[in-house]
């Protein structure tokens, strides 16, 4: 079947968090704790077992250091950029970036690779989903994810993440977050179509002088073979708390296994040789 996915265009996100609420309503995800985090308007913090959509709020002063409410990620500060100049003609000297993060539904999904029970599987829509009745809570998938998306719910021991609303897709419905998004910042559809649309949108923004706009996760040759849920960002990925160059954590496994197998063979050979030596 056609690969389905999300295109999240952060240039038109208004930070309303309707995606977070709609996701929780449809999927019956419990609350993630009522904690005032003091990080701009983000009181969710990060994706996790109880947060499958997360809107990041990043306040970026032009020049100078980041404000106390949003410490720079990885100690970096993009400072003034052509993109910032184009988007902020205001006098406040501040940009407020908003972006709704979600599971990337990677082409090469490490979580799926390492799952020993088959609870994680690739659906007919080419999305990656946990079967909750199969998951045994081993947690191998948690460190395997290069984005820190999949997470164990302490109350029941199993892992949870975005299903790209597998049940809704099966009924030919739009996922809850995309359906609720008022500005179509979250778009759902066949991945090929979304990539075409994203390329067009990028062209429009670039033409308008937003030279730092770029697509994140739309490249089949990246470390995870491209995302099923990709993004248009207005600053470096790390500004949004995203890895700049994600790599499927199982990428080196074959080589490692080959090396291990070689070593094992060598050991077996050595033992055999030792045993075979005439006494």
């Amino acid at each position: 079947m056609t690969r389905m996915g999300f295109f999240t265009d952060t240039s038109i996100c208004i930070g309303c968090k309707a995606c977070e609420v709609a996701c929780k309503e449809w999927n019956d995800v419990p609350d993630d704790g009522l904690n005032f985090l003091g990080t701009s308007y983000d009181n969710t913090g990060a994706l996790g077992a109880d947060t499958w959509r997360h809107v990041a709020f990043v306040e970026r002063p032009r020049g100078g250091s980041a404000p106390p409410s949003s410490p720079p990620v990885n100690g970096q500060d993009a400072g003034s950029s052509p993109a910032a100049d184009a988007l902020d003609t205001g006098s406040a000297g501040v940009r407020w970036l908003m972006s709704s993060d979600v599971c990337k539904h990677c082409t090469h999904a490490a979580c799926l690779d390492v799952c020993p029970t088959g609870a994680l599987f690739r659906t007919e829509f080419d999305t990656v989903v946990v079967q909750q009745d199969v998951c045994n809570g081993c947690g191998y998938c948690v460190p395997a994810c290069p984005f820190g998306v999949i997470d164990k719910r302490e109350s029941d021991g199993r892992v949870w993440k975005c299903t790209l609303c597998y049940d809704r897709l099966k009924s030919d419905m739009t996922p809850a977050c995309a359906k609720a998004c008022p500005t179509q910042s979250i778009q759902f559809g066949p991945l090929d179509e979304l990539r075409d649309r994203a390329a067009g949108r990028l062209g429009v923004l670039r033409e308008a002088g937003v030279s730092e706009a770029h697509l994140y996760g739309a490249d089949d040759n990246d470390g995870v073979g491209g995302f099923g849920a990709f993004f248009l960002l207005l600053d470096a990925p790390e500004v949004y708390g995203l890895p700049p160059d994600p790599v499927v954590t199982t990428r080196d496994l074959p080589r490692m296994w080959r090396a291990a197998a070689g070593a094992a063979l060598a050991l077996v050979g050595a033992v055999a040789a030792a045993c075979a030596r005439p006494r």
Binding site: S40, E59, P182
Partner: protein
């Protein structure tokens, strides 16, 4: 301006984003950099409470650079009208208009009239009420055309010249001094607006309670009206002034009002001193020209809808069954009277005044003086429990044992649990169908009031007391549905639409009669059930109709989507431009036609001149688009209807750390105040005791006073605590730490909040010094999952005199680190 549309109206803001994607430029002017600012092309920070200085300077910029749409202004506005020679401006009287009576603290508006025209008595409503209560529509004149005009706009007393003089000192330099907006930033906005407003292009202005919640709130919007009339942006597609309403049907709640001084369709409530008989009322409220010339038909049809067969010509259609007002009975006046023990009972529906209204402490003290209180809500809100767990119980100021108020809490049904209509900001009615049955004892408002009426009528049955007749004679006969006996909401909508002598629904308000043969619950909604069809329930997809989409829902009046759209064509009836064509005169068919429903008499030609003795709409010429106005003009200058002046003037907020640099008159002289021990003001040395400006607002994550959001985990976790927003500079000055606690104090109270230090709030340079502003979302109270102190406790009752709205968008405060003191 005055709106944070992306956060407070995110669903409507999708269309702003759509417009932006098509090339529109979005400008946001606000005290804070909000989620709206983040998406705007241009953001300008200004001091809370200084908008008239900013807007007035745009008026001045338009006039001094000659950027007005001259043909439009000359033909469609009252720019040419000559004003009475008794009129004196704020420029002459240092901040006062002529007619000010220092003793009663009110204006006599006689001198604001058109020269040669007697003043309309309906505007002078103040004689029996020191604060005045606004007329329903407030704009009646005693004659149709202004008696004296100067089409060249050169006469020194014509409106155009008065306007020029009035705003002459509103310069970019003044904007810099008063608003804290650099000159260049102001000019950028003014130029952008002028460049985008002409024959080919139009600009829209959106506002919300950031403009209304001031002691000069009505005049804020008036200033925008002047700008839009000068630039020719009214009655044209892409233009207008859009009032973004605070709830799903707040527009509906003024159309079919929950207000004390108007009846459905903006007809005034009868006043005991002036409208003793039906004839008095009709005479006072029927305009000589325009569609208010049929006020008798609208009013008598309303009485027929309410009292049915009991309303006859012989008994003046039960006119004396209506309640009559004697003065100001507005919400805050009632609360003050309640605090003084003068109000025995109170119904609270869809409101949470214990934390949601200005000066919450005064409200809670007032509620404790009631004999009984009825609260209907989805959850047990603070207003229902103030007597056992309010802040004053904690501090010992109130003791539960001493509070005699009997509280009845009744569970309400949500909009998903009942049929009904919402009227949104475009005056569009949209029907919603019940999705699920309400649980347990939850019931709709319609159910509650209908059955309350039924029970009262049953108790009064057989009474011979004349005072019981208004209740016993009511037409109270909607069909009841289902096991709960829910009145049929569609039957109510049908009554609102109105029926003719044949018992069938009328097609619109032009069919209403003053002879008792028609009945109509709200004349402006007439047509919403035309052809016996629930018109608001229409949902024809956009793909199956043109962009005006006349078959999606139904907009009052007469399904017109843009009001006064005759102004989209020039005086001769041709569109101002092909690009902006909407409604035009078809000479062959001798009719108005176009994409929208023409807001004009359909066959009145552009060159129509009213014959001698013509009345109502027939007394307006064919080139006068503002058909609800007695003179058919858009009013740059308001000769009648406002109690605080015919032109907007910059006054400082009631509480301000600055003095008014323009006039000796500091604040709106006509503003409504309550000088009481429980409503203290900081009017003395404000800049020392309370040096900062505070302003309240909403967040996307919560709904107003929190009843619909603080009790839900999925919303509460997104904004879990009350917080305040401060700049890094203020944080450094006062030792505030991001994520820590702050105590904010005013002359009324002290509250605590978590601190959010953000670059989005910046100090402004005002009158030569740095001004810090403190941002306070007002969603919180002590109940629910997400709790916190109520920002409204900090604010006083200081009101706009026209509409009695509280000033909670600008007042003075201080802020210190740490939590507030506890008892």
């Amino acid at each position: 301006m005055g709106s944070n549309m992306a956060e407070c109206h995110p669903v409507g803001f999708q269309w702003v984003m759509e417009a932006k994607a098509r090339g529109a430029r979005v400008i946001h002017v606000d005290p804070r950099f909000t989620r709206t600012s983040a998406l705007a092309d241009t953001f300008v920070a200004l001091r809370a409470g200084s908008d008239i200085a900013f807007l007035g300077a745009i008026v001045n910029h338009i006039l001094t650079t000659g950027r007005e749409f001259r043909e439009y202004v000359a033909a469609y506005t009252n720019a040419s009208a000559i004003i009475s020679e008794d009129y004196e401006d704020t420029e002459d009287l240092d901040g006062l208009f002529s007619g000010w009576d220092p003793e009663t603290q009110t204006y006599d508006p006689t001198s604001w009239q058109y020269a040669g025209m007697p003043a309309a008595p309906s505007a002078g409503t103040k004689e029996s009420s020191p604060q005045g209560e606004a007329h329903g529509y407030g704009s009646k004149l005693e004659g149709a055309e202004p008696p004296a005009t100067d089409p060249t706009l050169e006469h020194p007393r014509c409106v155009f010249q008065i306007l020029k003089r009035h705003f002459a000192r509103y310069t970019p330099e003044l904007v810099e001094e008063v608003c804290g907006v650099p000159k260049a930033r102001f000019l950028e906005v003014a130029e952008a607006l002028c460049d985008n407003s002409n024959r080919e292009r139009t600009s829209a202005i959106c506002y919300a309670v950031g403009w209304t919640q001031h002691t000069v709130g009505v005049q804020y919007i008036r200033t925008a009206a002047i700008i839009q009339l000068l630039l020719g942006n009214m009655g044209r597609p892409g233009g207008g002034i859009l009032a973004l309403r605070g709830h799903a049907s707040i527009q509906g709640s003024t159309d079919i009002p929950t207000l004390y001084n108007i009846l459905p369709g903006y007809m005034p409530m009868p006043h005991a001193a002036r409208h003793g008989t039906l004839d008095d009322y009709i005479a006072a409220n029927t305009a000589p020209a325009g569609f208010w010339g049929h006020a008798d038909a609208y009013f008598i049809s309303l009485l027929k809808a309410w009292w049915g067969d009991a309303a006859t010509a012989d008994n003046d259609y039960c006119y004396d069954y209506l309640p009559f007002i004697t003065g100001d009975h507005s919400s805050y006046r009632t609360i003050v009277d309640m605090a003084d023990g003068k109000v025995p009972g109170f119904f609270v529906l869809g409101q949470n005044p214990a934390v949601g209204s200005a000066n919450g402490k005064l409200h809670r003290a007032a509620l404790a003086e009631l004999e009984w209180l009825v609260v209907r809500d989805l959850v047990e809100i603070e207003t229902a429990t103030f007597w056992k767990d309010g802040p004053e119980i904690d501090t010992g100021e109130l003791r539960t044992a001493d509070i005699g108020t009997e509280v009845f809490f009744l569970p309400a049904a949500a909009h998903t649990e009942k049929d009904g209509s919402f009227t949104q900001t475009q005056r569009m009615l949209q029907w919603h169908h019940k999705a699920v049955e309400p649980e347990g004892d939850c019931r709709s408002e319609l159910w509650f009031y209908w059955h309350l009426g039924r029970i009262i009528r049953e108790k009064l049955a057989g009474s011979t007391d004349a005072r019981d007749r208004p209740v016993l004679d009511l037409a109270w006969d909607y069909p009841l549905l289902g096991q709960t006996g829910e009145p049929d909401a569609e039957a109510v909508l049908r009554e609102i639409n109105g029926v003719g002598p044949d018992g069938r629904t009328v097609g619109g308000y032009t069919e209403l009669k003053a002879d008792g043969s028609t009945a109509c619950g709200c004349w402006i909604y007439s047509g919403c059930y035309a052809d016996e069809v629930n018109q608001p329930a229409r949902r024809k997809p956009a793909s199956e109709q043109d962009r005006v989409a006349l078959e999606w829902g139904w907009a009052w009046p007469a399904n017109r989507r843009i009001l006064y759209n005759r102004a989209s064509a020039d005086p001769s009836g041709r569109p101002w431009s092909e690009r902006k064509r909407l409604v035009w005169w078809d000479g062959d068919a001798q009719r108005w036609t176009g994409h929208d429903v023409p807001d004009f008499v359909i066959d009145k030609p552009p060159d129509y001149e009213p014959p001698e003795g013509a009345e109502a709409e027939h007394a307006l010429r064919g080139d006068e688009p503002f058909i609800m106005q007695t003179d058919g003009k858009g009013w740059l200058f308001v000769p009648s209807g406002l109690v605080d002046g015919p032109l907007p003037t910059h006054y400082e907020p009631h509480e301000s750390p600055f003095s008014n640099p323009l006039y000796a008159q500091q604040a709106n002289p006509a503003r409504q105040t309550y000088r009481r021990r429980d409503n203290r003001y900081n009017n003395g040395n404000g800049a020392v005791d309370y040096p900062f400006v505070m302003t309240t607002y909403r967040l996307t994550e919560h709904h107003t006073a929190g009843g619909m959001s603080r009790f839900l985990a999925r919303l509460s976790e997104l904004q879990p605590e009350m917080f305040c927003e401060v700049s890094p500079a203020l944080a450094a000055e006062r030792g505030l730490v991001n994520g820590g606690w702050a105590t904010i104090t005013s002359a009324r109270s002290a509250i605590e909040a978590r601190v959010l230090v953000t670059e989005r709030v910046k100090p402004l340079r005002v009158q030569g010094r740095d001004l810090h502003q403190v941002g306070l979302p007002y969603h919180w109270g002590w109940k629910g999952l997400s709790t916190g102190d109520a920002a409204n406790d900090l604010f006083p009752l200081a009101l706009d005199p026209n509409v009695h709205i509280q000033e909670v968008k600008a007042a003075t405060c201080d802020i210190a680190p740490g939590r507030r003191a506890r008892a």
